[in-house]
């Protein structure tokens, strides 16, 4: 069994996230948000980048979509129970004389701190950036892992 607690910073939408009901609820939320900013105004923590977190008995896994971000422009720091992602997304200037028809992609700095519910092993955090998707594997601290208890 996985012990599930609330994460420090982000604390909305737990449970089975891809169920139809959840999708519908989100649609509704989006609809409501279109008419002013009440308490539901922001989905998630509202901080770039959007992240997903999964968890198994040994580790937490954080993933984020960062298209066009080079690993050299990305900083990941881990402390006892917190992970910080920061960096910059750069969009190179195109040749002079280029006329833009659309500009939807954005460049800029970002920084996000994620507090995890249990202690982690900050020395063994691993990160991979493949095809614009960052995956951080965060092993849980030895004492935070679930232990099988033998019944005598």
């Amino acid at each position: 069994m996985i012990y599930r607690t609330l994460f420090g910073v982000p604390r909305r939408r737990f449970g089975a996230p891809f169920s139809d009901l959840e999708g519908m609820r989100r649609q509704m939320e989006r609809f409501i948000n279109a008419f002013g900013d009440g308490p539901l105004a922001r989905e998630g923590a509202g901080v770039f980048p959007a992240i997903n977190i999964t968890e198994d008995a040994d580790s937490y896994y954080i993933s984020a979509e960062l298209p066009g971000v080079k690993s050299a422009d990305l900083d990941i720091n881990a402390t006892a129970n917190q992970l910080t992602l920061s960096g910059e997304r750069k969009i190179s200037e195109e040749a002079a004389g280029a006329r833009y028809h659309r500009r939807e992609r954005e460049a800029g700095r970002f920084s996000r701190a994620v507090a995890l519910s249990g202690d982690i092993d900050p020395d063994n955090v691993k990160a991979r950036l493949v095809d614009g998707v960052l995956t951080v594997t965060i092993p849980k601290a030895e004492k935070a892992r679930p232990r099988q208890v033998a019944i005598q």
Binding site: T54, D56, Y61, E65, G132
Partner: protein
């Protein structure tokens, strides 16, 4: 110019797919930059998680269609405990106003960004014609 701007989180834009899908799942419109020079039209498309083999770029009858599925293997193992974004299919279509030299189209996918260069056919490249007085 935008160097020091703080990035804001933007929700992925979900779109209705052109035809009913046989496989359920969300469809997103990727963000694009489009610019034009005298010789070519270039598209830069954000498609995080996309593998080159899964991306389909199709140009016919002046309609450019980009489709691709992000394979679910991109996700992380374990039980989902917190979700802010979803992955699925990307779909976006553009009507091109210029005649494109189809054989010279160049598509590169790196770090989840597609760079698609559509060279204009020679005819459409503007030429400066000097008007002589006489």
């Amino acid at each position: 110019m935008t160097d020091t701007k703080e990035l804001k989180v933007r929700e992925k834009q979900e779109v209705a797919s052109p035809a009913e899908l046989t496989k359920p799942g969300p469809v997103f419109a990727p963000n694009v930059d489009i610019f034009e020079t005298e010789k070519a039209i270039t598209l830069l498309v954000d498609m995080p998680g996309m593998k080159a083999g899964d991306l389909n770029v199709d140009l016919r009858d002046d309609t450019l269609t980009l489709t691709g599925d992000v394979s679910p293997d991109v996700g992380t193992p374990g039980e989902k405990v917190y979700v802010e974004y979803e992955t699925g299919r990307y779909y976006r279509q553009f009507a091109l106003s210029e005649v494109i030299a189809q054989e010279k189209i160049d598509a590169k996918l790196s770090d989840g960004v597609l760079r698609l260069t559509l060279p204009k056919v020679e005819k459409a490249v503007p030429r400066c014609i000097t008007v002589q007085a006489g």
